[in-house]
Amino acid sequence: MIIMGLYNYWIVVVLMMIGFYIVIAHGNLIKKMVGLTIFQTSVFIFYISMAKVDGGTAPILADDVNLYSNPLPHVLILTAIVVGIATTALGLALVVRIKEAYGSIEEEVIQTQYNRDQNSLNKENKTC
């Protein structure tokens, strides 16, 4: 089967779509963050699997080895992981603040509460 050589990309696409589905279908903000993490990891897997060379080894120079995997994607993903956790922490901090302001982390509850606040604000403006 020629087409089986592409299976690594399909795994990536499946993982990516799982993450995407969680982000758009769930109203819970923590779950959305988890979905984003899965999405992010699928991109990492995409890069790392592209760097793999059959019969190659880890890119640390040794005397009796002459085939290495591509080091460039490794570098990009290494830094992306740490940046990813820093930005995830920022997102979680925002979630915590939203919980404090609205008393909930469900999208619908927040939306209705926001609408109610806006309406009462408009009414106040009109009476003034």
């Binding site: 399909w10 790392i48 080091p71 940046v83 930005t87 619908e108």
Partner: protein, 334 residues
């Protein structure tokens, strides 16, 4: 799944699994990072966030069918797009034909470091890495701006007594941790300075170092950990790491080279490269470790603070018996 705690624990397992996948793909440095970040720090932060926002998810009203259709269509298009991609593991794929051979063949002469990942990260693409460190630093500032609370001394005393009663029960954990922490810190230093010769470097070392401190804070209470690691001090270290990185760049400018061109730092180009890589890895390690610690301390500090406020509130409510929940939340937001 409605229990968010289960979701978070599964995410941790997923992180560990993807780390072992990266080992199988020869990406040892990446696996190292993912194991300490994905399975360690990110799970911890999510746990703290879940403990602050509530453990269960309410059932959603809107239908997931539309989302499902969108996902299927997007996924189908992406899979159609992969049909033109080179096969998995082929050595003559386009990705291996541009800069990669130069890195593999010439890096030992040009940089003198055995680990190609380190030489690309810290020397060839040092400017890129500088940007990443600044992003991490900025995220740390963002968390600080969002979550930091004004601490009053009397709060600390209360929290401390609370912590002490809570931690009596974890005696075995505390003793084992006390024995382990020196080794974790030592391992972090090894990873930091051995990055030239094996997998490791500033990013991994920073995360491991932070993990040791966070472990300590979890078992001995935040205020005890704060006494060991001063709040101002850790912020200073975070800024110093970025500053050190930038200063290496400026120093190479002053010596007549390009920004972050280490060859001109010392008389011998290879020695200059070694010095430059050592310094910037140190800067990266400092910033990453202290930003992770700052993030955790702020999450946990806010949790303690809220907990404390709620206790006070409950006492008040019992005496006055006035309007409940709604008011409580608004008060917290202020």
């Amino acid at each position: 799944m409605k229990d968010l705690l289960t979701v978070v624990m599964l995410t941790g397992i997923y992180g560990l699994l993807s780390a072992s996948f990266f080992v199988a793909m020869d990406a040892v440095d990446v696996a190292f990072t993912e194991a300490s970040v994905g399975a360690g720090i990110s799970t911890l932060l999510m746990l703290v966030a879940v403990s602050m926002t509530g453990r269960s998810e309410h059932s959603t009203r809107h239908k997931p069918l539309l989302a499902f259709v969108v996902v299927i269509i997007t996924g189908g298009l992406l899979i159609y797009g992969t049909l033109d991609m080179p096969y998995f593991g082929t050595a003559d794929a386009p990705i291996h034909e541009n800069v990669a051979p130069r890195y593999i063949n010439a890096s030992l002469q040009e940089v003198g470091v055995i680990n190609i990942v380190t030489s690309v990260l810290a020397s060839y693409r040092a400017f890129d890495t500088f940007g990443e460190v600044v992003v991490i630093f900025t995220a740390g500032i963002g968390v600080l701006a969002l979550l930091s609370v004004v601490r009053r001394p009397e709060n600390d005393v209360e929290i401390e007594s609370l912590n002490e009663s809570m931690h009596e029960q974890h005696l075995i954990l505390r003793i084992v941790t006390k024995m382990l922490i020196p080794f974790i810190l030592l391992f972090a230093l090894y990873v930091q300075f051995h990055g030239d010769y094996g997998p490791g470097g500033g990013f991994q070392a920073g995360v491991i170092f932070a993990a040791a401190i966070i472990l300590y804070a979890m078992l001995f209470g935040l205020s005890t950990a704060r006494r060991v690691i001063n709040h101002t001090f850790i912020r200073l270290i975070a800024a110093l790491g970025v500053l050190l990185y930038g200063c290496v760049g400026v120093a190479s400018l002053l010596n007549g080279g390009n920004f972050l061109e280490y060859n001109v730092l010392l008389d011998e180009p290879i020695a200059g490269q070694h010095l430059g890589i050592l310094l910037i890895e140190l800067g990266v390690g400092c910033t990453v470790a202290s930003v992770m610690v700052i993030i955790f301390f702020n999450f946990a500090g806010r949790k303690d603070y809220k907990h404390n406020q709620q206790n006070k509130k409950e006492v008040k409510d019992k005496t006055i018996l006035n309007d409940e929940e709604d008011h409580d939340d608004h008060h917290g937001a202020l």
